[in-house]
Amino acid sequence: MENTWWVGPDDLIPEQSDLIELPADKSFLIKGPPGSGKTNLLLLRANFLALGGHVNLRVVVFTRMLQSFLAAGAKQYDFKASRITTLTKWEQDLLFQYGVTIVDAPQDFEKRREYLIGKIEQLVETRKLEDLYDVTLLDEAQDYLPSEIRMFRRLSKTLFAVADSRQKIYEGEDCMEQLSEAVDTTRTLQFHHRCGIEICRLADALTKDRAAHTPMEETSNYDEDARPSQVKYTLHQSVEDEAGAIIGHLILQMKAYPGELLGVVCPKNEDLQIIWKVIQESEIAPHAVLRRSDDDAPFDPDAPIWLSTMHSFKGLEARALHIAGLAKLGRFPNQRNLIFTAITRAKTALRLYSSGDIPDFLAQALTIFEPQPAKPKIADAFGKKK
């Protein structure tokens, strides 16, 4: 994936470079829209602190897939990849270090998460633990639970968190308040560069119910001249049909965007499996991989097509993104944030597919791409035939 990580200081704009060398003894929350460089800044900040002697630090991310994504950047910056960990790994390591055994951990994601943080809370309370780390750096911090934030804060001298509340896609109590209280200063990134204008317009139409946010279109600095952006929505007979349409576009996109990640995501894993099956029987089969959030294989330019659920694709970005199976989006409690997060993974080409009704708010947002109907004349009401 070329051009994913910044190469030198000239790649940064002042509001970004200002953040890297903030005082090391203070905690910060960095908010910013998708594509404002939050994850990249997190990594540069971590490296900057490590080079300044704060070697006892952890970069915490949500999934293994994100961990491997950051590891590629860490390699570029000569930053020790072992300092990047997932939330679960961080919790297990800590419990292990202090001899806490995990025997009855629930299988369900949400329940397991509650269980692990409960164990940590017990440990911290019994052992009176604090400030084990110089600094903890949190990516996608909006998705942590308030209890998790409290533990991170207690166990590290300072926090450096990046977050966007519109991208909160997991269930559980909102932690933005805890985050604000846990830091000394909150900074906001204004400008963003990833998403093309058409994608920003859809994102804005999806979030216009949230008046507090600056529309993405206003602050987009995406180079539309270099790569004009496009958003398309199509309705199909079945998920298999959706897969057929996606394959046709991917064949062209592999030629148009060599070496770049092309994504296929679904809200529901069952639909993703159907599409995966169709793709495996197609000519693009050798170039596609099914990704789970817990696999950490690096990006392979010969297999640039990644299939995953929308949740697992969190934090990543793709030159072209296909969001399929949208008929089941309405089943998710955080559906507005989920679709916002998914579409803002796309840089240039975004295609949405469904073979059934999509939630009204999404249908409404998509109307911005339809021409305004001309005012009908009375005669039109009688039909076209004379």
Binding site: F191, I197, D225
Partner: protein
């Protein structure tokens, strides 16, 4: 008309051309050869001798006045022997433009138009309107280097209400080449009113030169259909091998509303620019991007509906302007990151855009720069727009402030088209950044130099 042998001692030769009311013959006297226009006796019978003589008198008022691109009037009056009414003119042997329209080299179009405009302006300065400018009334030299405006038969002094031949305002001139207000004889009898007619007719000639077809060529019958076309149809003028400015000049000249026409066109518009940058790429882009103008005729009585249509159009053009600003700022790599905001405007035909740039040391900008572009739709069907701009360097974050009039520049006035508007916005953005950098390059001075930018190097179309 059967050629008489002799009129006012001129020996009549071969006929050169015939119109509805008169025939022009070659004529000689005392070894000189001229053209003589002799009016049909039936016309004189119909409208009366006095009226006809009054017209000839008007034509003769130009006697002795010379202009390189205007036919010279030599003599005229009523022949004492035959009773025929005649005008003697300079003999021009060149073909008329209507017959050679398709042969005119593209690069000669602008010079020819400029010559015709010079002649028309010369007439205006003498207080006269030609009223019948059309390809049939233009002689063009074989090498296409020299154009002459002919047939001063329906010229009219400006601002004299009681003309003997115009007590009833019946239509004169040529319907096809008439602006709607002249067709309905609603033109204003003022220099402005007649200039608007002249600009339209020059625009129609330009249309013909560009498209190599008569204006409304496909409409001949019935007559009422042509009337309707003159009143309502917007002719399509487009060509990839013509400077974009010339295509726009034609469109602006052919505006249906005379006051709008005068807002968009001035005599200066016809002058051949001294330096012309090739614009082929722009033209291709423009043709690709061209969108059909909003053609549905608006019912003026339905204000709410009209406002909605206008507001929608304004929003559409504003979005286009915002896109152009963003593309220039991002693609050039020369600007700090930009935030582009659409500001509310009460008037439906207006929309304002703010481009705001933060302080950025790498861009030598130590105080925030803001550039405003205000769009005003002058005419919806033809999508004629005006763009006003102003800019500031200031730490004051307010977004809706407006300076006093001197700091507001009119940067564009004309038919909306990306190929023309984009360079205008480029000019504006680079001028603003350049001035801002000069003012704020030294951080210590920044405080003292907050304020409105002069945008000194921008052309104001009002000055033309």
């Amino acid at each position: 008309m059967k050629a008489p042998l002799n009129v006012a001692q001129w020996i009549i030769g071969e006929p050169l051309g015939a119109g509805k009311s008169a025939t022009v013959f070659r004529a000689s006297r005392d070894g000189t050869t001229r053209a003589i226009k002799i009016f049909e006796p039936e016309i004189i019978e119909k409208y009366g001798k006095a009226a006809q003589l009054a017209r000839v008198e008007r034509e003769l008022s130009l006697k002795g006045l010379r202009h390189p691109h205007l036919v010279e009037i030599i003599d005229g009056g009523e022949c004492p022997d035959t009773g025929l009414i005649y005008v003697v003119m300079e003999l021009i042997e060149s073909p008329n433009l209507a017959t050679v329209l398709a042969d005119v080299p593209r690069e000669r179009i602008w010079p020819i138009l400029a010559q015709l405009a010079e002649a028309s302006r010369f007439l205006e300065e003498k207080g006269i309107a030609h009223r019948d400018i059309k390809p049939d009334n233009i002689a063009i030299s074989k090498d296409f280097s020299h154009a002459t405006l002919l047939d001063l038969g329906v010229i009219r002094p400006v601002g004299i209400a009681e003309l003997t031949d115009e007590t009833q305002r019946y239509f004169i001139g040529t319907l096809r080449y008439s602006p709607p207000e002249f067709l309905l004889r609603e033109e204003l009898d003022t220099p402005d009113g007649w200039r608007a007619v002249t600009f339209y007719q020059l625009g129609a000639v330009l249309h013909d030169l560009i498209t190599q077809n008569r204006i409304f060529e496909d409409i001949t019958e019935p007559y009422a259909r042509l009337v309707q076309a003159v009143e309502r149809d917007i002719p399509v003028v487009a060509a990839a091998d013509i400077p974009a400015d010339l295509v726009f000049l034609a469109r602006n000249c052919l505006q249906k509303k005379p006051d709008l026409r005068l807002q968009l066109v001035s005599w200066k518009s016809f002058e051949v620019p001294t330096i012309r940058v090739p614009r082929i790429a722009d033209l291709k882009e423009r043709i690709r991007q061209r969108r059909l103008p909003l053609t549905n005729t608006l019912d003026a009585s339905d204000t709410a509906e009209r406002n909605q249509v206008v507001r929608q159009k304004a929003a559409e053009i504003q979005s286009q302007i915002q896109g152009l600003i963003r593309r220039e700022c991002v693609a050039s790599g020369l600007f700090p990151p930009v935030r582009i905001v659409g500001l509310q405007d009460q008037a439906p035909e207006s929309a304002c855009t703010l481009a705001a740039f933060p302080v950025s040391a790498p861009h030598s900008l130590s105080t925030p720069l803001r550039v405003w572009v205000r769009l005003k739709i002058l005419d919806v069907p033809s999508v004629a727009i005006q763009l006003d701009a102003w800019a500031s360097v200031s730490n004051d974050a307010s977004e809706t402030t407006m300076p006093d009039t001197p700091a507001i520049k009119v940067v564009f006035r004309g038919a909306n088209d990306e190929a023309v508007v984009r360079p205008v916005l480029q000019q504006l953005l680079y001028t603003a950044l350049d001035e801002a950098q000069q003012l704020t390059a030294l951080p210590d001075q920044a405080k003292a130099t907050e304020g409105w930018l002069a945008l000194a190097t921008l052309d104001d179309p009002r000055d033309q």
